[in-house]
C-alpha cells in the first residue's frame, strides 16, 4: 500500500508528522552536517523574543533519571538578529519552519509575529506545502508556535499558559496578525489541560502542541544547593512521556483542531503512543541530544509500522486506539 505521510496543520501541509522540538535544534544549521534536514516534517526553532536574551546563570542543565532539567531562560539573539542572521538560513531549508515565539506581555508576542510577517513576506499554502519549501517561494516562516508554557522565565511564559482567558485573548490577537499556521504550545503544569486547549481553539489557533517541560528540581546533597543556578528547571526526556501522552489523549478529545504531541519521544514506538492517543503530528526534543538522528529514525519506524498495519495515512493511526 502507498503511504501518504503528509499532515495538515491549518493552512500548512507538513511533509511528514515528525518535527524537531523548539530549543533542542537551535535554528537548524547546528545539525545540518549530521543529517538531511529536508527529511524532517518540520523544524520548530528556538524561541524568538522581542529583545535579545542572555539567558539564565550557569549551570543550566542537569541530568535526571531518564531525563534532564534545563533552565536556559529563553536565551536567544532577539527578533532583529533573528531576522538578519537566521531567517536567510531558514529560507534555504527544504522543510517547514515553525518559529517558536515567546514574550513577557501580549504586546511582545504580537510585535514579534507582526515583525516576522513583515520580514518573511506574504505566505501562501503553495509556498509552505510539504516539499515546496526551500525552493522558490519559501519565506523561511511557515507558521508560529506560541510558547505560553516556558517554566524558566520570571515574566510571561507559564503565567500566560495557565490562564484560559489570557490564552484565548493572546491567541485571538495573534490570529488577527497572521494567515500562517498558528500553534499554541501548552504546559502540563496545570490541574487540567482541557480548558487551556479549548481556549486556544476558541482564540483561533490552527493546532495546539503539548507538552512543554514539567517544573522540577535537583538538589546536590554535597553542596546542599539546587544543581541548577536558578533553582528549578524544566524536566524533559523519556521520564515525562506518560504525562505527555495523557495530556494529548485528554486534549485531543476536547478540541477539534489538530494536537501535536511531544514529551519524551525517543523512538517510533513512543511516537506511536502519541499518535494513537490522538496526536496528528509529533516532535522529538531531548532525544536529539542523545542521538542526533532520533527524529529521522522515529519517522522511519512510524512508516514501517504503518506498512505492517496496512495504513495509508497518518490520520488512520488514531482511529486504531482501543482496538486490537
Amino acid at each position: 500500500m502507498n503511504i501518504d505521510p503528509r499532515v495538515r496543520i491549518g493552512p500548512l501541509v507538513l511533509s511528514n508528522p515528525v518535527g524537531v522540538a523548539s530549543g533542542t535544534f537551535g535554528y537548524g544549521a547546528e545539525y545540518e552536517g549530521l543529517m538531511d534536514l529536508g527529511r524532517l516534517g518540520a523544524i520548530y526553532t528556538k524561541a524568538v523574543t522581542l529583545e535579545a536574551r542572555a539567558g539564565n546563570d550557569a549551570p543550566r542543565i542537569v541530568e535526571t533519571p531518564a531525563g534532564m532539567l534545563n533552565s536556559i531562560g529563553l536565551a536567544n539573539p532577539g527578533l532583529e538578529a533573528f531576522v538578519a542572521r537566521k531567517l536567510p538560513e531558514l529560507r534555504r531549508l527544504s522543510t517547514s519552519v515553525i518559529v517558536n515565539v515567546a514574550g513577557s506581555s501580549e504586546a511582545d508576542y504580537l510585535r514579534v509575529v507582526e515583525a516576522l510577517e513583515e520580514a518573511a513576506g506574504p505566505w501562501s499554502p503553495r509556498s509552505g506545502a510539504g516539499g515546496a519549501t526551500g525552493q522558490e517561494g519559501a519565506t523561511g516562516v511557515d507558521g508560529y508556535e506560541i510558547n505560553v508554557s516556558c517554566p524558566n522565565v520570571a515574566h510571561g511564559g507559564l503565567a500566560f499558559g495557565t490562564d484560559p482567558a489570557q490564552v484565548e485573548r493572546l491567541t485571538r490577537s495573534l490570529r488577527a496578525a497572521t494567515r500562517r499556521a498558528l500553534i499554541v504550545k501548552l504546559t502540563p503544569n496545570v490541574a487540567d489541560i482541557v480548558p487551556i486547549a479549548k481556549a486556544a481553539e476558541a482564540g483561533g489557533a490552527d493546532a495546539i502542541s503539548c507538552i512543554n517541560t514539567l517544573v522540577g528540581m535537583v538538589i546536590d546533597t554535597r553542596t546542599k544547593r539546587p544543581a541548577l543556578a536558578r533553582g528549578t528547571g524544566g524536566l524533559s526526556g523519556p521520564a515525562i512521556r506518560p504525562v505527555g501522552v495523557a495530556c494529548v489523549w485528554k486534549a485531543s478529545r476536547a478540541v477539534g483542531i489538530p494536537v501535536i504531541g511531544l514529551g519524551g519521544i525517543m523512538c517510533a514506538d513512543d511516537a506511536l503512543q502519541y499518535l494513537l492517543a490522538g496526536a496528528s503530528a509529533v516532535q522529538v526534543g531531548t532525544a536529539t541530544f542523545v542521538d542526533p538522528r532520533a527524529a529521522l529514525k522515529t519517522l522511519e519506524g512510524i512508516l514501517a509500522w504503518m506498512e505492517g498495519e496496512g495504513l495509508a495515512g497518518i490520520g488512520d493511526i488514531g482511529a486504531l486506539f482501543g482496538r486490537s
Partner: protein, 273 residues
C-alpha cells in the same frame, strides 16, 4: 564532525580510577586537534541518558591509513562506570570532533613565546595531546624554549601511567611524587622567568587561579573549560559560561571549550569538574 559507531581497540587502566580508551577512528570525521572533544553514548539504556563529553588525548594514523583516537578518563559516575566495563571489540556511539581547541602550532610559532602546558584532574588528556602535537610540529625547538608541562595530582597513586614527556613537572598535594604542592604553588613560586604562553585544562578552581596568575604576569593564555552539556553542537544553550561582567554567555561546546584568558569569568564559571 560525524556520528558513527566506533570500535573499541583498547580500554586499559592507567591508575586506580583512570582509564585510557582507544577507538578506531572514522577518517571521514576529520582529524581531531588538541582541546577538541567527542561525545559518547555509552549505552542505549535511558539512564544515563545524555551523551558524555571527553577531550581527545591522542590521535594516530596507522601506515595502512586507518586511524585511532584516544581519551583519558576518570571513572566518576554512571556513564564512566559503564564505559569502564566495555571491552575491546565492542562498539560505542561517537560524535566528533567537536568544539574549538588550543591555538595550533603555527599560531604559537608566530607568537614566539614558550608554551607552558598545565593540567589538573581530567584535564590531563588534552594537555598530553597538545604536548604531542607541538612536539610533532617541532614547536619545542622554537626560539623561546621547549614546552614545559606541569600536571597536578592528589598523590603518587593517583598519577596515571600515561607516558609523560621527559621534563614533565608533576605536583602532588602530599609530596608523595614530584613537587609538593598544587600546580598553582609551582607556577607562582618555582617557575623560572620566561616569555611564557599558558595553555591549561583542569578543574574550575584551578582555571580561575591560573587565569588570575596569567593576568598578573601578562601571559597570553588559553584555558579549556568544562561545563555540563546536552547537545555538544551549539543547539541547546545548556553549556553557557558567563563572560566577564555577566551580561552574556558563551557556549562551551562551540565557542570553546578552549577560551582566551579574558573571554570568560573563570571565577564564576559555575560547574567545572
Amino acid at each position: 564532525m560525524l556520528q558513527f559507531d566506533a570500535q573499541i581497540l583498547g580500554n586499559r587502566e592507567l591508575a586506580p580510577g583512570w582509564k585510557e580508551l582507544v577507538l578506531r577512528w572514522n577518517g571521514a570525521a576529520g582529524h581531531p586537534h588538541a582541546g577538541e572533544f567527542l561525545t559518547l553514548r555509552v549505552s542505549s539504556a535511558l539512564d544515563p541518558l545524555l551523551r558524555r563529553p571527553f577531550a581527545f588525548a591522542s590521535f594516530h594514523e596507522d601506515p595502512d591509513g586507518a586511524s585511532r583516537a584516544g581519551i583519558l578518563y576518570q571513572v566518576r559516575g554512571k556513564a564512566t562506570r559503564i564505559l569502564a566495563d566495555l571491552g575491546t571489540g565492542a562498539f560505542v556511539d561517537v560524535l566528533g570532533p567537536l568544539g574549538r581547541g588550543f591555538p595550533d602550532a603555527a599560531q604559537l610559532e608566530a607568537e614566539g613565546s614558550r608554551p607552558l602546558l598545565v593540567a589538573g584532574g581530567v584535564g590531563l588528556g588534552p594537555i598530553l595531546f597538545l604536548a604531542a602535537q607541538l612536539e610533532a610540529a617541532r614547536i619545542p625547538a622554537s626560539a623561546a624554549g621547549p614546552a614545559l608541562i606541569v600536571a597536578g595530582f592528589r598523590n603518587s597513586a593517583a598519577i596515571p601511567r600515561a607516558g609523560f614527556p621527559a621534563g614533565t613537572v608533576t605536583c602532588t598535594d602530599d609530596g608523595s611524587s614530584g613537587y609538593r604542592g598544587t600546580v598553582l604553588d609551582y607556577l607562582s613560586r618555582e617557575l623560572p622567568p620566561g616569555n611564557w604562553r599558558l595553555m591549561a585544562c583542569g578543574p574550575a578552581p584551578m582555571l580561575a587561579a591560573v587565569a588570575t596568575l596569567a593576568r598578573a604576569r601578562s601571559w597570553e593564555a588559553s584555558l579549556c573549560a568544562e561545563q555540563w552539556m546536552a547537545c555538544g553542537v551549539g543547539a541547546c544553550m545548556g553549556c553557557a559560561l558567563p563572560v566577564p561582567g555577566g551580561a552574556s554567555f558563551l557556549r562551551a561546546c562551540v565557542d570553546g571549550p578552549v577560551f582566551g584568558r579574558d573571554d570568560i569569568d573563570w571565577g564564576k564559571e559555575g560547574g567545572g569538574r
